[in-house]
Amino acid sequence: MSNTAIITGPQRDEMVSVWNDQIKMRVRIAGKGPPLVYFHPAAGLYWDAFVDGLAQDYTVYAPELPGTTPGDAYAIYKVDEYCDLILIYEEMLRKLGLKGAVAVGQSMGGMIACDLAAAYPDLFSKLVCLAPSGLWRDDAPPAVAELYSSAPEKIPGFVFHDPSLPAAQAMFTLPENPAEIPKAIAQNVWTLGCAGKWMWPFPEHGLRGRLYRITAPTLVLWGKQDRLMPAVLAGEFEAGIRNCQVKLYDDCGHVLQIEKLDQALADVRGFIG
């Protein structure tokens, strides 16, 4: 598979009513095979070639963080606390009957997947985290605030080692129709804003103390040149989770599933088998 593969995208959606019916959580679904839950990063659910690739062997369920689903922006205000967010995700997974699924989470999604796996040790059969947030080191602080307050043109260089990759550039492409651009920008900005509720100023909610509770076999992948979540944090996950493998990628930034698509897909497939 190349970096410029044609994306099939989600095939159907489920709207799952959660949080005492206050939130309708959209879950995008594609593929066939055993269930796999994909937890998106702070930038929102971007259905890229990696997710498409997973859908070749698995039924991928990709829930959207409340507030990030177009047309339902204020759902974020229904969620006050981070612990509530974890309960909401668990409720959604339970209602979809996804206990025992494989979990794959990228960045913020990795943090959420880890916390779910820590809170409910039997929830996932395996756990894959791609440059997950959730931990902090004084000598390697995650640069979330810097990313959020950077000029838009600087963001590709912040999250990619090589922002010139066509797939990297495609991620930041705005609609061709100028009339659609303001709405698209507003949606992108708001999505980051919703994620900021759990990421600002640090994506750190005490996960370090809960890592020991994770019993699912875990794979952590990280780009060595990650400027957002320093790769040294991979070792912290490895030390904290009892059954955890780590792989670091050379010449790779934060969005490793785009920058090292083939390698990441192969490693994830090999791990979850």
Binding site: Y77, A145, Y148, I185, G196, P201
Partner: protein
């Protein structure tokens, strides 16, 4: 009408190449740039000049709050206001003290803000005007660590808490999302039964709606150039009508940067370099991306701003703006007495401004020049503004100023 003298507290000794090397907020390196003796001097000059304005007969003096900023080193303006409250009281000056104000989307201690305002109201014998801005994104989010999406909900809770804390006859418990107090029974309460509230804002319709619904004064600024942002005034008065409020000019306060001399030529010569430096190094050196960190602005607000960035006026070019661009946009009105008076009178009349704040110190302006500006405004411009208030017909309409300090009980 009411005319107030307003100042921020910039460090006045920045290098000429500042704007090309540094941002003016959050990351500016203190020890590389600051001479401790000059910083000390600037702090005292600021208080001297504010007191000078009170002595010159301005109706009030005003400040704002910003943290970790080169252009406004007032992390807690209540400290200076407390000093000024005592100094004006000791001299028998009946000057309003407008703290514009304490940023409630930022503060984690709203009760302390209410207590401090109450203390100043006590020292000054009821001369306090309470400013309650939401706060700028960089200040609340980067400086104070507030999640951007929580800024406005925090503001809403904090302002409700402060209002209740100031007025409630009984002690009460507050179990909010951001504040939990088992017992609120503030000592002292303000002298004034209902402290006037002026809320600084940049024109966001959601913010204006809140100000109108709470029946407060909207304080707007000239910093982005009123020649370019006139739609904000129109929006405010249209929204006032839509929300059942009258067109009382005292509902609007406007802050205009001003530098006046005897003649236009002299004004441009003596103030020009300071005014240009102030805009280039101060507001101009705030990165646009730090003014609206994702989540700070509502999704519809973002869409509106992308479609029409007009409310930001000349801000996007301010770091390198020429002196002529700054003056042409009226971001600062510079000139002789006639020029300044005429431009201010036109603004007051056209925009229905009942409270005019004149920002009198700009960037590197030294203290003697600042005092000269203040004196000339008081002596030669203020009388003409008051006359124009009558000439405009506002005086005959007998608008009640419901948002002016009431002083001690009679």
């Amino acid at each position: 009408m009411k005319v107030l003298s307003f100042q921020q507290l910039p460090y006045r000794h920045l290098p000429d190449d500042f704007a090309s090397k540094y941002d003016s907020i959050v990351t500016t390196p203190y020890f590389d740039l600051v001479d401790p003796k000059l910083m000390h001097q600037d702090h005292n000059h600021f208080i001297d000049e504010m007191l000078h304005a009170a002595r010159c007969g301005f109706d009030g003096i005003g400040t704002t709050e910003h943290g970790q900023a080169v252009y406004d080193i007032l992390p807690n303006p209540n400290l200076q206001m407390a000093a000024l409250a005592y100094a004006t009281q000791a001299e028998g000056l009946n000057t309003a003290l407008a703290c514009l104000g304490r940023a409630l989307g930022k503060t984690k201690e709203p009760l302390r803000v209410a207590e401090e305002y109450s203390v100043i109201d006590q020292i000054s014998g009821g001369r306090m005007i309470a400013g309650f801005p939401i706060s700028l994104s960089w200040d609340s989010n980067l400086n104070a660590g507030i999640a951007p999406i929580d800024t406005r909900p925090r503001f809403a809770e904090n302002i409700a808490l402060i209002d209740k804390a100031m007025k409630s006859k009984e002690s009460f418990a507050w179990n909010g999302r951001f504040n939990k107090y088992s017992n609120i029974n503030m000592w002292p309460r303000p002298v004034q039964p209902s402290m006037p509230v002026w809320s600084p804002a940049v024109g966001n319709p959601n913010t204006l709606a809140g100000i109108l619904d709470r029946d407060q004064v909207f304080l707007y600024f000239s910093w982005f150039g009123p020649k370019l942002t006139g739609q904000v005034f129109d929006r405010y008065w249209d929204m006032a009508e839509e929300r059942g409020r009258d067109r009382n000019p005292y509902r609007l306060a406007f802050l205009q940067c001003v530098a006046v001399a005897e003649t236009d030529e002299e004004a441009h010569r003596v103030y020009g370099p300071h005014v240009k430096a102030a805009f280039n190094t101060g507001l101009g050196s705030i990165p646009m991306s730090k003014l609206s960190i994702p989540g700070y602005m509502d999704i519809n607000g973002v869409e509106h701003v992308v479609k029409d960035p007009g409310d930001f006026g000349m801000f996007p070019i301010m770091r390198t703006a020429s002196y002529e661009q700054i003056v042409d946009a009226q971001a600062c009105i510079v000139g002789g007495v006639d020029t300044v008076a005429e431009q201010l009178i036109e603004l007051v009349k056209e925009k229905r401004i009942g409270n005019l704040l004149l920002m009198v110190q700009h960037g590197s302006m030294p203290t003697e020049l600042t005092k000269q500006n203040i004196s000339l405004l008081a002596e030669k411009v203020m009388p003409r503004l008051r006359q124009a208030w009558s000439d405009n017909g506002f005086a005959d309409q007998n608008w009640e100023h419901k948002w002016w300090p009431t002083g001690l009980p009679k």
